[in-house]
């Protein structure tokens, strides 16, 4: 059963790779508390860089914009992604269905410079000026496209496991399909929807390339601002920001995971109860 992790080699490999993954993040956190100006030397404990962060209006407005775009993009991505997941799991093969399947996952792997460039060409096309050109709206659309692909994958894997007899029973009893969807399917896949929202929100908050290509001077998101600052030299202020992000993301990911796991366990218990009752 746990033969693999009991052996010394297996354990040390796990430790080594986790060290590789976590040491850089740990360094960011540690040096955010330095009192000096250099990001790689610890000159004594201080919270001055967190104070600097609080006084930095530019960062605050970038955070605010990123949060708004992230929340909107995650919401629209979950809607589009859930619809896509339905098409992929519940529709019988039709003309163009495999093309659709390919197109719905492609944004996940397509290099972001290509997606970004193509969307810039869309939003700056003279015939499409009603889209408003580059700016927050364009970033939202780009993030929705990218995030919907991830949402579709997450929701799809849950939809495949759903016991469809409930839906079929409701349909047979004359319940209209849209009502079946909202009172039966949505509650059943709700944990997947919540975790898809949280994860796509993080994805949108984090995206740099799409946002940078599609931003105009009035729409600087947090990653765009961080990137500009990195080119002007390193400052512990960025470390402080990174530490806050690490904490927030950890809470979001742990929550998403907890929701998924507890619903999985509930299903497992229900199955065991049903089996015991038989």
């Amino acid at each position: 059963m746990s033969r693999g992790t009991r052996s010394l080699g297996a354990r040390s490999w796990l430790v080594l790779v986790f060290a590789f993954l976590y040491i850089p993040i740990l360094c960011l956190v540690v040096f955010s508390f330095t009192s000096g100006e250099i990001t790689t030397q610890f000159d004594g404990f201080s919270l001055r860089w967190y104070q600097a962060l609080l006084d930095d209006g530019e960062i605050q407005s970038a955070v605010w914009l990123s949060l708004r775009i992230g929340a909107l993009a995650a919401t629209s991505a979950v809607v589009v992604g859930t619809a896509a997941a339905f098409v992929l799991t519940r529709f019988r093969p039709y003309f163009g269905s495999s093309f659709f399947a390919g197109m719905s996952t492609a944004p996940m792997v397509m290099p972001e410079v290509v997606t970004g460039l193509s969307l810039v060409l869309l939003f700056t096309h003279p015939a499409l000026s009603f889209l408003g050109g580059r700016g927050a709206l364009a970033i939202w659309a780009a993030h929705t496209t990218l995030c919907a692909a991830y949402a579709a994958v997450l929701v799809q894997s849950r939809l495949r496991e759903v016991d469809r007899s409930l839906e079929e029973a409701a349909l047979d009893l004359g319940c209209p399909p849209f009502k079946v969807f909202f009172i039966i399917t949505v509650p059943v896949i709700a944990p997947a929807l919540v975790s898809a929202w949280l994860l796509t929100f993080t994805l949108s908050m984090d995206d740099f390339v799409l946002a940078a290509m599609l931003s105009d001077p009035g729409s600087t998101t947090l990653p765009v601002l961080i990137f500009a600052r990195l080119h002007h030299g390193l400052k512990p202020e960025i470390n402080a920001l990174a530490t806050i992000i690490v904490v927030v993301v950890s809470i979001a990911v742990l929550t998403a995971n907890h929701i998924m796991l507890s619903s999985q366990n509930a299903r497992l218990r229900a199955k065991q109860l049903a089996a015991a009752a038989d």
Binding site: S104, G174, P177, L230, I245, V249, N257
Partner: protein
């Protein structure tokens, strides 16, 4: 049943329309525009190109004049390959990108396969914690994780790795670790490792333990079991993971820009420079079109493997 059919059909139609319309408008149409712009002429207008289909100058209606000069520049680089003093800027970038993406994929697979395998074999309670620990860096700001490596690899004596090596007395003068190909490769392996581990794990965790027991009961040695049972069964996971790393890595821009300095040319940077500072959108579009052509085969392989992977689930 037949009474409800039209209703059902209508609902299904609208559910299907939403993602189809979205993807056609924000994924496919933009690609058509890339091809259009790659055949355009650079211009000092907004947007900075003249499309192939445009108003004729003498006012006699529209004319269709595709401008192949951007593709011609790539063709000229290929033609000049053998000559002395040839400076194939774009070809070198393509070559570098493909090479670095391949190296990243191979390293991620070598590190990630045993890693994912041991996580999948761990006790269930531990397994979820370990998986969580892989997910966390995956969702933590990409830009900031690359930034962390700028501090670690810094080439002066305040660089963290240099501080450590000098402190241990292994070296006297700091090593030039940052702003070279090695730094870019390290950053890419670091950033893309979770993309390899997660699909591999998803595949390996489904592996039927009885098959391994059967193999060992029949006298197969662990290595034989691994090569003839585990490895072939995890093929789809390997392909999915490798493509999740390789395809975006070819177009990577941030990592070579922050860790590579001026020396490491990659195709993502060329697109970025032609699009931004050089304001040559037709050239940026051409380079992107060629990159997508190079990546079509891997993308199809990725789609196949991820679909058969999804189909395997109960």
């Amino acid at each position: 049943m037949s009474r409800r059919r039209p209703f059902l059909l209508r609902g299904r139609f609208w559910v299907g329309m939403l993602p189809w319309t979205w993807l056609l408008l924000f994924f496919l149409l933009p690609f058509v525009l890339i091809v259009n712009v790659s055949l355009s002429t650079p211009d000092l207008a907004i947007p900075p190109y003249i499309a192939p289909l445009h108003q004729a100058e003498d006012g006699s209606g529209v004319e269709l004049v595709p401008d192949l000069s951007s593709f011609q520049r790539l063709g000229d680089e290929i033609a000049a390959l053998g000559e002395d003093g040839a400076e194939p800027l774009y070809l070198r970038a393509y070559g570098n990108s493909l090479l670095l993406a391949t190296l990243t994929t191979v390293c991620c697979l070598l590190i990630g396969y045993p890693f994912a395998y041991h996580i999948a074999r761990a006790r269930e309670s531990i397994r979820n914690v370990l998986l969580m620990m892989v997910m966390l860096p995956f969702w933590t700001s990409f830009l900031l994780r690359v930034y962390a490596w700028m501090g670690l690899l810094d080439s002066s004596e305040v660089g963290l790795i240099n501080q450590l090596l000098i402190g241990l007395g292994i070296i006297d003068t700091p090593l030039p670790l940052l702003y070279n190909t090695g730094a870019v490769l390290t950053g890419m392996i670091y950033s893309y490792l979770p993309f390899m581990v997660l699909p591999l794990y998803a595949n390996l965790v489904k592996l039927d333990q009885r098959l391994l027991e059967a193999a060992s009961d029949l006298g197969a040695r662990p290595l034989t079991t691994f090569l003839s049972v585990t490895l072939p069964l995890s093929r789809n996971g390997i392909i999915a993971g490798a493509m999740m790393v390789f395809i975006p890595a070819v177009g990577e821009f941030v990592i070579p820009d922050l860790l590579g300095g001026g020396d490491v040319q990659m195709i993502g940077r060329n697109i970025w420079d032609d699009f931004g500072p050089n304001q040559d959108w037709p050239m940026a579009a051409t380079v992107a079109v060629v990159m997508v052509l190079l990546l079509i085969a891997p993308i199809i392989v990725f789609n196949r493997s991820s679909r058969s992977e999804a189909g395997e689930q109960p």
